[in-house]
Amino acid sequence: MLDPAILFASVLNGLTTGAVYALVALGLTLIYGVLHIINFAHGASLMVALYAVWLLHARAGIDPYLALPLVVAAMFALGYALQRLIVNRASHGKDENILLVTLGLAIVLENVALLAFKSDTRTIDTPYTLATVAIGPAFIALPKLIAFGGALAAAALLWVIVARTDLGRAIRAVAKEKQGARLCGIDVDHVYAMSFGIGLACLGAAACFLLPAYYVNPQVGAGFVLVAFTIVVLGGMGSFAGALLGGLLIGVVESLGGLWLGESLGQIGIFMIFIVVLLFRPQGLFGARA
């Protein structure tokens, strides 16, 4: 049997990783919930945000946490523009077209990064990169702890926007009934673009919290895509609370799976959960009945 201290550390580690997963999944679930599209460019967009954080640190010496407002705003603008100028125009109202467009965008973004930064893996060095905090018998990296708190704060902010503001009301109206919302005078295309923008802004925040303890290369997004999809399905597509809980759960499963089964086979736990949930409870563990 495993030492409880190791188990505790592993769960803690999983929770902090899971919080960042949750942040990535929150953006995905918002875009899915409102636009009903699977955004295959989500991973590539996270990669773009990570490079933005890296550039700001390497070229301008801006601390990743201070870069947060800048990167979040830039990612929001990118998302708004992408949806308005490309995805919306190319969709022609057909799901398969949106899917292809986001796939094409992902290919373009990844290869622009490859052209600009080569395929080298890059990290940043901050005074707190190697700092740790003791929690009970376990030590946890300080950047991961900050990421945990930051992800929870971002999720709370997102909830306030969607639940308490006029924009949020419009977003929920469009998500439920597009035509009805249009008849009530809501600019549906604008709401679509705002949702896409907010979805990508979540990635901006995730990138700022990730990079101090992580790395960036042109393919870095791919590892997050399937995990984020898993979380979104697990939590119920379009559900924020579900994405948050699902993210934490998946983080812990990955961490414990890696502990028991080793790095590569450990990943299998995530996908088995994914398949079982899809088959038996496609509305998600926490989602309402579809």
């Binding site: 490309i86 398969e96 290919i107 290869n111 490859l114 080569k118 898993t230 398949i275 899809l278 038996f280």
Partner: protein
């Protein structure tokens, strides 16, 4: 001429033209191009059977490709089967995988994005298993020894492989033509267009979709087996990685979903585009794929019916432009 006879005449003409071109071509570059274009077309045709005619968008067709490829390699390496027999075995095992995935996902009524995601997850599980299990050779993969002879399905010249690929593509064309004019095909398209209405007139959606995924998986499996015979090598990333799934579906959608010639046209056009950009911008890594991705987005923006429906899209745009 009936519509079926028209389709059959077209397929015969296609086989003759490609066959004659193969015999006349001498350049190794063009022979390789033709071989890979036919191979890409086979994958897209396989995907089109389920995605185009059945309306079920799979994101994990690499699963069937990989099962076919690994079966082709393992049946020869471990079980000592002849390569031609292994080809049949690979198709059968891939079809079995298709039946398994289909039975589960259609039984639980997964549709649209949910179906796309569950197939993606199945392929990913297979990839992780192929890396972790012993008999698949792990991350290193499997190598097929070089034993050049037609009896071993290893040809000295590209022309032998082209003949095999052409035969597989023609069979896929024939099956597609059959779908277009048979009772089963009509039921499948009815389920695609409106599942509830189809059920109301007595069609069993589960059985019909299951039939489509089995057919589709079998062809995808032969694609994997073909890959192993040509390159004599397979590893988990090539076999089960997402790029094969993407290649299959992009060719079919760009060419034109649910059409006879669309997947062939789309796969050939994309393969040509990939080759051209690689030759033009090969010195700058990434630039070729930027062009590739951009063209993909532009095709979707301006030719929403795919290449096979481009005439209609352009006519509409012309009329719309004049009206507006």
């Amino acid at each position: 001429m009936s519509r079926l006879a028209q389709d059959l005449a077209g397929i015969a003409a296609f086989a003759l033209v490609v066959g004659a071109a193969t015999l006349m071509l001498d350049s190794g570059v063009w022979l390789t191009f033709l071989m890979m274009a036919l191979y890409a077309a086979l994958l897209s045709q396989a995907w089109n059977l389920l995605g185009g005619y059945g309306g079920q968008f799979s994101f994990g067709h690499a699963l069937f490709f990989g099962v076919g490829a690994y079966a082709q390699a393992l049946l020869q390496l471990s079980s000592g089967w002849n390569a031609w027999l292994a080809l049949a075995g690979a198709a059968a095992l891939a079809a079995l995988a298709g039946a398994g995935v289909g039975a589960l996902s259609f039984r639980y009524g997964l549709k649209g994005s949910y179906f796309a995601l569950v197939t993606l997850a199945f392929a990913e599980v297979a990839r992780i298993l192929a890396v972790s299990l012993g008999f698949t050779g792990g991350g290193v993969g499997l190598m097929l020894p070089l034993r050049e002879s037609a009896a071993n399905l290893q040809f000295g010249s590209r022309k032998g492989y082209i003949a095999l690929a052409l035969a597989l593509v023609v069979v896929a064309l024939l099956v597609t033509a059959w779908l277009r004019h048979s009772r089963f095909g009509a039921q499948l398209q009815a389920v695609r267009d409106n599942e509830d209405a189809a059920r109301a007139i007595g069609v069993d959606p589960w059985a019909v979709k299951l039939g489509a995924i089995v057919l589709s998986a079998a062809f995808m499996g032969t694609g994997g087996a073909f890959y192993v015979q040509v390159f004599q090598y397979i590893d988990p990333a090539i076999g089960f990685g997402p790029s094969t799934s993407v290649e299959a579906l992009v060719g079919a959608i760009v060419g034109g979903l649910g059409t006879l010639w669309g997947p062939l046209l789309g796969a050939a056009a994309l393969h040509l585009l990939a080759e051209l950009t690689r030759n033009l911008f090969g010195a700058l890594p990434g630039l070729n794929m930027i062009v590739y991705g951009s063209v993909l987005v532009l095709i979707v923006m301006f030719l929403p019916r795919g290449l096979a429906g481009s005439g209609r899209s352009l006519r509409d745009a012309w009329r719309g432009g004049r009206r507006g």
